[in-house]
């Protein structure tokens, strides 16, 4: 089980808490399982999200591994200019 921090405006869709516990060994599994366990998060995840894992922001790398004690933060999809 990995703890994933959820940003403020998504917390209602995640059961009202700012951190959820979810199964997943990598970026993709975490997001897939988040969508299943918290259907309210599905629209945002499908619009696009990134994950910060132990301080590093990953835009969209499915196979980046995640450990049980990793700090994982859900973030909006990154864009620049």
């Amino acid at each position: 089980m990995v703890k994933v921090k959820i940003w403020g405006s998504l917390r209602n869709a995640a059961g009202g808490t700012d951190q959820v516990c979810i199964d997943g060994r990598n970026f993709k599994e975490l997001l897939d399982n988040l969508k299943i366990k918290y259907p309210g998060l599905k629209p945002q995840i499908e619009r696009g999200v990134s994950l910060a894992i132990d301080g590093k922001i990953y835009k969209e790398s499915w196979f980046i591994p995640v450990n049980e004690d990793s700090e994982v933060v859900l973030m909006p999809y990154m864009i620049g200019g």
Binding site: G8, S9, L10, G55, V73, P76, M78
Partner: protein, 748 residues
């Protein structure tokens, strides 16, 4: 121009030097080909019909008379684009050419291609149309009200709170801790609202493209763009063809800054070409650029911040409202996340709203969303420092984010360079110099995320030992030089043996747009890995030649040699010598690397500015400007300095003069460089760049992206300086002379 704090042990030979850039001669002799510089046989001229209304229903368009004009070869409307798969691309094409409604002043409704400009312009006048004018809205507050005219119905996301009009299409919030408790601990609380106008990236080169599409679905497109692969994806989707059939070549680019990361004319040119059977060239006028490309979001930001007597920020709350034109965008998320990024806060919340208005769809502009939000935050910090009589640099140091800080947007920071840049600013002679009458000093922190992204590089070793590198990112600031330097460093060969070219979309795998300060970082990383792969292959060849194991051959100082005495005595072979026998030992030698690069670190900067405000005219003169930024490792220091200086001056323009000015009918009054006033040479002093080098562990040479952060601090730095010089706290940009003078007079 100094470099400080190089903590890496590595000694570089080529990286860190300042060679002349490889495309330099082309650019100082006029030889380089930019978007509008290509002409093709049988070429037509394309022009778009633009409507001078902010909001109108299109009742009918009749293009028949235009089609019949001799010399006109094709006429199109939105009807010619009906097969778009993704929502995002649907918005893009509708922003280029109106579907059912004219949504902003300058929105196009049709386009023609003709044998010359004269006939094309005549044809536009022959297009008949009927419009029903609709009530419009261009201001953020008005657009949010429940009874506002609705720009586009049905675009509201599930996350928007109740009570707003349908123009409020999206909402987000970030933060942690208990605000109420935090504010209770404050000695002073400041609550202020800040306003920034829409500004334009202001690139000197208008958008231009030359498209050729044939009935079999094959197409070639030449355009000035920051991302030819992105153009390919968008245009292939819009035109209903496979990406493999559309080859996009990026011209040299005359500035982009984010504004050329999308498309405004390319699908139009393709459609006109398909319909006419001839290549079509479209070049935007400057007026079209201002009206119908992608300016920034304008903003209203409310900040409430509490500070203790000794300068600790006890609580901070931001409500950010951005409008980015008639179609949704995600910039408000970036604004909300970056607002408090520079600070280690126990209680913080930032909320962001995106609002639709009757303006053109925004496009990115260097660190999109961050300047507006950080302007508001840094101004508030400065005001609290004034009220509590505290040194603004000391307060930044006291609250600065560092390793282990939980960022206001969620993750825990690893090693970051903010404190180092603040300390560098504190020790700099600029900070200690004295000020005279009507003068003020301002400072601001800045922040940006920086990206990696999809990157492919191919490094090919020619038989004569020279090297050709193919990469896929348009060179907007000298990146060919840096990439060649990194390859020269890795291969240990002179820089002049390397030529780096930028690929069209057929010649290399997908490369993400040149944005997000990603090129030196990600393309550099891929180049280094491609070079390593080539070295590995050269070792293999030597091993074969010497009849020893591959593992027994190493690369050192530009040569392959046996790893140790056990491997036998063999004279080292230089890259040139191996290259010379590559045909006989297996074939041409190359290395390539494809990656979706991650690990680009965030970057921080600090700007210091001294100004003098003329109390009789309200004019602000910049006396001295110093930029401190952590580059990780400056591959070509001149181009790192260039990014720092260029971004700063764009921020200066944003702070002092630039703004989109609309009349009461929602029409843009200043779509030209005369009245949209960007900084000119006589407005400015030298901009002093101080590069810090705290290596980024995510890059083999320690490189951090630098291209964007420098536009973030100037807004607040200048506003703080002007506020201190005049002793009036300003909260609205730009600080143009009439506005400043009016405030000065009111204050007397």
């Amino acid at each position: 121009m100094t470099s400080q704090g190089n903590k890496t042990n590595r000694q570089f030979n080529v990286v860190g030097t300042r060679p002349v850039r490889p495309d330099g001669i082309d650019k100082v002799t006029g030889k380089a080909l930019y978007g509008a510089d290509l002409y093709s046989p049988n070429m037509l001229v394309g022009k778009m019909l633009r409507i001078n209304e902010p909001h109108a229903l299109i009742k009918s368009i009749d293009t028949s008379k235009a089609e019949q004009l001799p010399g006109v070869k094709s006429v199109i409307t939105f009807k010619d684009f009906l097969s778009v798969d993704t929502n995002k691309n649907n918005d893009i094409i509708e922003n280029c050419i109106a579907n059912k409604k004219v949504l902003y002043d300058g929105h196009a409704i049709a386009a023609v291609a003709a044998i010359n400009l004269n006939i094309a312009e005549k044809a536009l006048k022959l297009i008949e149309f009927q419009l029903d004018k609709l009530p419009f809205v261009i201001d953020i507050d008005k657009a949010m009200e429940k009874d506002s005219p609705v720009v586009q119905a049905g675009r509201k996301n599930e996350n928007v709170p109740n009570g707003f009009s349908d123009n409020v299409n999206s909402f987000c919030s970030f933060g942690h801790g208990n605000l109420e408790d935090g504010f209770k601990k404050a000695e002073r609380i400041v609550e202020k609202s800040f306003k920034t106008p829409s500004v334009h990236q202001g690139y000197i080169e208008p958008h231009a493209c030359l498209a050729s599409m044939t009935l079999d679905g094959k197409a070639d497109l030449w355009c000035c763009t920051q991302g030819q692969y992105n153009v390919r994806s968008i245009c292939a989707d819009i035109m209903g063809i496979e990406t493999s059939q559309l080859r996009v070549t990026a011209s040299e680019i005359g500035g982009g800054f984010g504004g050329k990361t999308t498309v405004f004319i390319e699908p139009i040119a393709l459609a006109l070409s398909l319909k006419s059977g001839q290549p079509v060239k479209i070049v935007m006028t400057r007026e079209e650029v201002f009206k119908a490309t992608g300016p920034t979001v304008s903003s209203l930001v409310d900040i409430k911040m509490g500070m203790s007597k000794d300068g600790l920020i006890t609580a901070a709350h931001a409500i950010i409202r951005y409008e980015g034109g008639a179609f949704p965008n995600e910039i408000y998320e970036l604004g909300a996340q970056s607002a408090f990024a520079a600070y280690d806060l126990k209680a913080v919340r930032s909320e962001g709203f995106n609002i639709l208005t009757n303006r053109p769809l925004q496009a990115a502009y260097r660190a999109p969303g961050a300047p507006q939000a950080i302007f508001a935050v840094e101004s508030t910090v400065d005001e609290l420092c004034q009220k509590l009589n505290l040194d603004p640099l000391e307060v930044r140091l006291k609250n600065a984010a560092k390793k282990g800080t939980t960022a206001s947007y969620g993750p825990t920071f690893d090693d970051i360079g903010l404190i180092a840049t603040l300390e560098a600013a504190q020790e700099h002679p600029h900070y200690k110099s004295t000020l005279g009458p009507n003068q003020g000093r301002g400072l601001s922190c800045g922040f940006w995320f920086n990206f990696g992204g999809n990157t492919c590089v191919s490094l090919n070793i020619n038989f004569d030992g020279t090297v050709c590198i193919v990469e896929g990112n348009p060179d907007i600031g000298g990146s060919r030089a840096s990439i060649s330097q990194m390859a020269a460093e890795e291969l240990d060969i002179p820089l002049n043996k390397i030529r780096t070219v930028i690929a069209d979309t057929n010649s290399l795998g997908h490369n993400d747009v040149t944005d997000g300060s990603r090129v030196t970082f990600a393309v550099g990383l891929a180049t280094i890995k491609a070079a390593k792969a080539a070295k590995k292959e050269m070792c293999k060849r030597a091993a074969k030649l010497w009849n020893i194991d591959e593992e027994a051959v190493i690369w050192k100082d530009g040569h392959v040699l046996p790893a140790g005495a056990n491997a036998g005595i063999h004279d080292p072979l230089s890259l040139k010598e191996i290259a010379a026998i590559s045909a006989q030992t297996g074939g041409p030698i190359s290395g390539h690397h494809e990656v979706n690069a991650e690990g680009a670190g965030v970057s921080f900067g600090v700007h210091l500015v001294d100004v003098e405000v003329d109390p009789e005219t309200g004019h602000t003169k910049i006396l001295r400007y110093t930029v401190f930024q952590d580059a990780g490792k400056a591959v070509h220091p001149s181009y790192v300095e260039g990014q720092m200086q260029g971004g700063s001056v764009q921020g200066i323009g944003w702070a002092l003069n630039e703004e989109y000015i609309y009349d009461q009918d929602g029409k843009l009054l200043n779509p030209g460089f005369l009245d949209y006033r960007i900084p000119v040479a006589s407005d400015l002093p030298m901009i002093d760049p101080v590069i810090l080098e705290i290596p980024n562990p995510g890059h083999p040479y320690g490189v951090r992206g630098v291209g964007e952060t420098s536009i973030v601090p100037p807004l607040a730095a200048i506003c703080n300086a002007v506020s201190r010089a005049t002793e009036i706290r300003f909260t609205e940009l730009p600080l143009s002379p009439p506005k400043v003078l009016s405030a000065i007079l009111k204050n007397q």
